[in-house]
């Protein structure tokens, strides 16, 4: 990979890409492969955006700073085309046998393992009807999946997407299409209540809605518990071998091989345009870079229509819509270096799971969400406890472990504490107090966990935003995925096809369709749109 210097001679590329997150790199790779010259400019000293791995606590403990789950990347159309090449550049996954589980206050648990008989045995033990319900859904998943992934895997809207819908209607019929549309509008609760009986089973699946901003009652959220559960059951979950950044390192390596250039510590000041056509960028250093065919902004609308377009796109009304693109609730990341794996009171088997959710009931989840939306620190936070070392021992020194704890649904500006203990104020001032609440909560489900902590690193929503300017208020999903900002409304209705209101200017990234995740969806779709299939 060429590490061009910020001060080197005036550069010209076919495509200039702003932001070295994985979608930007995916677009760069596809374009480079199609013979375009590409230059990627990243303000930070490290590529990867929200996919980074660092020794955050103690030497030898490798923590995925934000994203940990690479299942979407492993199953992505992008990887289908470039998997072999990326393999040559060291891409390696560590598969999880036991994917995700939820713990309950009565010292019980339920979880999904890749081995179907394991999952079914647990279901049968809880509720035999739900065991039947689960198998029925899993069978149906086989029929539905091609259509759903077809929709998720195409530019929205597009002839191709329309073809998917059309053929779905022809193959599956009107009733199915009608139900599918209703399903896409449904909240997790309505869908789960229609399909399952047991509250623990429902809560375990509903937790996936909380990975985005879909509390159990939010319309349009049913899709995520459904897809994640079925996909985890059918394909399992994977994380990166040695760290999530294995995918970034491999992408950088392959991009270099293709002649693409990545410039780190190269902060882009603004996007250059003439005659309302984007034709390059100006770096903070003053250097200008020319783009012959395209400027691709792999950033959130706030960044593109804020700093990068100081004079706007020339269409103020449209710019206003991009500026009012709504972030989702914030996240806190809590990284722990541990003497021993967490010993869950509910059962030792839980230590093998990639994710353990602390989100035991609908009520627990809706309360945390509604408190966060009202600007309060949730009195009982929703946790995703990731256990990478259960799957990939190389993440920590021999015999030691790490925990990746994601605290979902936190306010950007803290008006108060729903529990009434922590004074409202700057995240910088309160983050450790809140992290203590999180650790006490974990302790209540995994006694002794506290004592086995060797080191911790806390990233408040503010810290995440300063790590990555695209995570507004610590929103690790680059914008709410509610119905008004998803599908053909992502990020802004009428601009969901990556083309921005300025000639030769494009946007990709989690803020664009098909949304957040490590699936490289938008970067690859945009790459194909520009460079051809």
């Amino acid at each position: 990979m060429t590490e061009a210097q910020g001060t080197s001679a005036k550069k010209t590329y076919d495509a200039v890409i702003v932001g070295a997150g994985h979608n930007g790199l995916a677009a760069a790779i596809h374009l480079a492969k199609r013979g375009w010259s590409v230059g990627v400019y990243e303000t930070k000293s490290e590529a990867g955006g929200a996919v980074k791995t660092r020794e955050l606590t103690l030497p030898g403990f490798h923590h995925d700073v934000a994203a940990m789950n690479l299942s979407m990347f492993a199953g992505s159309p992008f990887l289908r085309e470039y998997g072999a090449a990326l393999g040559r550049h060291g891409l390696a996954f560590a598969p999880a046998e036991d994917c995700f589980a939820s713990v309950f206050p009565d010292r019980t648990w339920f979880g999904i393992s890749k081995k179907l008989d394991k999952t079914m045995a647990r279901l049968a033990a809880i509720n035999s009807n739900d065991a039947k319900n689960f198998s029925r859904l899993l069978e149906k998943f086989g029929e539905d999946a091609p259509h759903i992934f077809g929709l998720l895997g195409n530019v929205m809207p597009s002839a191709a997407a329309f073809k998917v819908v059309w053929s779905a209607w022809r193959q599956m019929g009107t009733a199915w299409s009608f139900e599918m549309l209703k399903f896409l509008l449904s909240s997790p609760r309505t869908w789960l209540d229609r399909n399952f009986e047991n509250p623990k089973v429902k809560a375990t699946l509903a937790a996936w809605g909380m990975h985005l901003d879909f509390a159990p009652d939010v319309a349009g959220g049913a899709l995520f518990p459904y897809l994640e559960t079925m996909a985890n059951q059918a394909f399992g979950m994977v994380i990166g071998k040695g760290g999530a950044d294995t995918m970034i390192k491999a992408m950088l390596g392959y991009l270099g091989e293709l002649g693409g250039e990545v410039h780190l510590n190269a902060s882009v000041k603004e996007i250059k345009s003439s005659a309302s056509t984007a034709d390059g960028i100006i770096l903070a250093s003053g250097e200008t870079v020319t783009a012959r065919k395209a400027v691709i902004a792999n950033v959130t609308p706030h960044v593109l229509f804020g700093a990068l377009l100081p004079h706007g796109s020339g269409q103020p009304a449209v710019d206003a819509k991009f500026k009012s693109f709504r972030p989702g609730p914030g996240t806190m990341m809590l990284h722990l270096a541990l003497k021993a794996p967490l010993k869950w009171n509910a059962g030792s088997e839980l230590s093998n799971f990639a994710y353990v959710h602390v989100a035991p009931t609908y009520d627990y989840m809706t309360q945390a969400y509604s408190q966060a939306m009202a600007g309060l620190l949730p009195e009982a936070p929703v946790l995703v406890v990731g256990q990478p070392t259960a799957i990939d021992q190389s993440r920590a020194p021999q015999g030691k472990h790490i925990a990746w704890v994601q605290v979902r649904m936190l306010p950007k500006h803290v008006k108060g504490d729903a529990a009434g203990h922590i004074k409202a104020g700057d995240w910088q001032k309160i983050k450790n107090a809140y992290a203590d609440r999180v650790i006490d909560l974990i302790e209540s489900y995994a006694t002794g966990g506290k004592r086995s902590i060797l080191g911790r690193a806390v990233f408040s929503p503010d810290d995440l935003e300063s790590e990555n300017a695209c995570l507004i208020g610590g929103d690790n999903l680059s914008g709410s995925h509610h119905l008004d900002q998803n599908f053909l409304f992502r990020p802004v209705a009428g601009y969901s096809r990556y083309k921005m209101p300025m000639k030769r200017l494009y946007m990709c990234g989690a803020a664009t369709w098909p949304g957040a995740g490590t699936g490289a969806g938008s970067g690859y779709l945009l790459g194909k749109m520009l460079g051809g299939k």
């Binding site: 209540d193 939306m373 009202a374 509610h482 802004v492 209705a493 009428g494």
Partner: protein
């Protein structure tokens, strides 16, 4: 023999019966209760001479409805008169700060601009944009969805706005009240004025498309105010009944329909009453009720309806509602005098407060600080109470259907999780304490209080499942094309000549009489 037998006598049934009767059809309305009108009932429930609208009271949606446009002269001839308040709505916060929405758009814009610079302008542009969209919007909210005219309407809009414009119309329409209010309006007080209104559409401030519904309501209140029926909602019912009878129709109360008769050809040919009496219908049977009643009871023995019966089991009902009625010695002396002129005043701590109370109710808790909707009928219809006296109409739209506890940790809820008199009155006391902070000498002025818990409301009207006054949750997956459920297109059912209307069907709840109007128009 009647051409159409209409089961139920709520607003939609009465609208359908009236329109069919006017078209020369012979209609027979069968009501299981002792009186007609569904949620429109006026009774002296506290003391003699105090006329309370027990449930529905505001007729703004009716005034704006195509049903009213078609029936106004006939109903007015039969004594229907509206009383109009000076100020349709307002909000009052615990700290005493308040804000009202008048019917004078310019005055509203000025007031909101004064509150926070930019808010007035934003309101002006939101309302005028909604005005421009109104024909399309009201076609979607009130039109027959599966029809050529709807297809043409949408196509026309697609052409007029372009695909980009159309998609941005729908995109914006899907936003929540929070996503409308927080980014676009600086003033918390303005948020507080609008947020409680989404409760009256069966939604919460975080619900999809609740932002659009809040705008629709602001637009409607400015356009038509918050009228009530002079002398009580019952006078609207009387006018409908007279209209129906004058056109050869018949109305029977205490006539509980137990079953729909399906003939060998799979068509509805009449109904059987609980008494065993058979009533024939020449052209069709129209049922205005909740899906559970229609498919779980009236069609329970009909095989071909099995699929719909299953669907009906999955039909979700919304939050409960509670009503509190007061007979007062004298009109309330609000500490802010202007508030005595407000027809529907919300006591609310604002957007976050409504969101919190909704969430508590959804978790089965009695909200610690519920939103209180205070109606003041006597302030603009003195005939509702004896000379010098007054009544108050209180609605608590955030009442849990099943009781798991009290968010304030004060009221003990019963083990069976059902509403009982003790809980109802204790909760009403909480509300009364909140209210009396703002009214001088309120408690002393109370002659009598009369409360209806969600359970009481369901006991009064079997279609208000769990005390849900909106005939089922109005979440988007159960609205528009999906109301009440698959196969409910254009109010048809799996049984030929059997039609389903009411709040549980498109276009949903409210006194607009939309489903009754759409069906009658299609039939005659």
């Amino acid at each position: 023999m009647a051409d159409y037998v209409i089961v139920g006598s709520g607003i939609n049934a009465l609208v359908a019966a009236s329109l069919l009767a006017l078209k020369g059809r012979k209609v027979l309305v069968l009501e299981r209760n002792g009186s007609t009108g569904g949620c429109m009932r006026t009774e002296e429930i506290t003391l003699p001479g105090f006329k309370h609208d027990v449930m529905a009271t505001t007729f703004v949606l009716f005034l704006l409805s195509p049903a009213y446009a078609a029936l106004a002269p006939e109903l007015e001839k039969r004594g229907l008169q509206f009383a109009h308040p000076e100020i349709p709505t307002g909000v009052l916060r615990a700290d005493g700060s308040s804000l009202v929405l008048t019917r004078d758009h310019a005055a509203n814009v000025a007031a909101f601009e004064k509150l926070a610079s930019g808010d007035g302008k934003q309101f002006d542009s939101d309302i005028s944009r909604l005005g421009a969209n109104a024909p399309f919007l009201f076609a979607l909210l009130g039109g027959r969805l599966w029809s050529w005219s709807m297809a043409k309407t949408v196509a026309k809009e697609a052409w007029r706005r372009g695909p980009r414009g159309l998609s941005s119309f729908f995109g914006e329409a899907l936003g929540s009240a929070r996503s409308w209010l927080e980014p676009h309006y600086k003033s918390d007080l303005f948020h507080a004025l609008m947020a409680p209104w989404v409760l009256h559409t069966g939604l919460g401030p975080e619900s999809a498309y609740s932002g659009q519904m809040a705008k629709v309501i602001a637009f409607a209140l400015e356009a038509a105010g918050a009228p009530i029926v002079k002398g009580g909602a019952v006078n609207a019912v009387k006018a409908f009944e007279q209209l129906i009878r004058d056109h050869g129709g018949e109305i029977r109360t205490n006539a509980d329909v137990a079953e729909v008769i399906v003939d060998s050809a799979g068509g509805a040919s009449g109904v059987i009453l609980a008494s065993g009496e058979k009533v024939a219908a020449g052209q069709g049977v129209i049922c205005s009720m909740a899906p559970g009643q229609l498919y779980g009871r009236l069609l329970k023995n009909h095989g071909p309806a099995d699929a719909m019966r299953q669907e009906a089991k999955g039909f979700v009902h919304g939050k409960g509602n509670m009503q509190v009625h007061y007979a007062l010695k004298s009109p309330p002396k609000w500490k802010t005098a202007e508030l005595s002129k407000v027809a529907l005043l919300h006591l609310s701590s604002g957007l976050d407060g409504v969101s919190k109370a909704v969430n508590e109710a959804e978790r089965g808790l009695l909200p610690a600080e519920p939103t209180i909707c205070v109606g003041q009928p006597t302030s603009f219809d003195p005939s509702r109470a004896p000379e010098g006296k007054a009544i108050l109409w209180l609605q608590l739209p955030e009442a849990p259907r099943i009781l798991k506890g009290d968010a304030a940790g004060e009221i003990n809820t019963p083990k069976d999780q059902r509403w009982n008199k003790a809980v109802r009155e204790a909760y009403a006391d909480r509300v009364e304490t909140m209210l009396s902070k703002h009214i001088t000498g309120f408690k002393a002025s109370v002659l009598k209080r009369c409360c209806y818990s969600p359970a009481d409301l369901e006991a009064m009207n079997v279609n208000l499942v769990g005390g849900d006054p909106y005939g089922g949750a109005c979440t988007i997956d159960q609205f528009f094309l999906w109301r009440p459920m698959r196969g409910g297109a254009n109010h048809e059912t799996p049984v030929k000549r059997l039609y389903h209307i009411g709040a549980s069907t498109h276009p949903g709840p409210g006194l607009g009489g939309g489903s009754g109007f759409l069906l009658a128009k299609a039939l005659a």
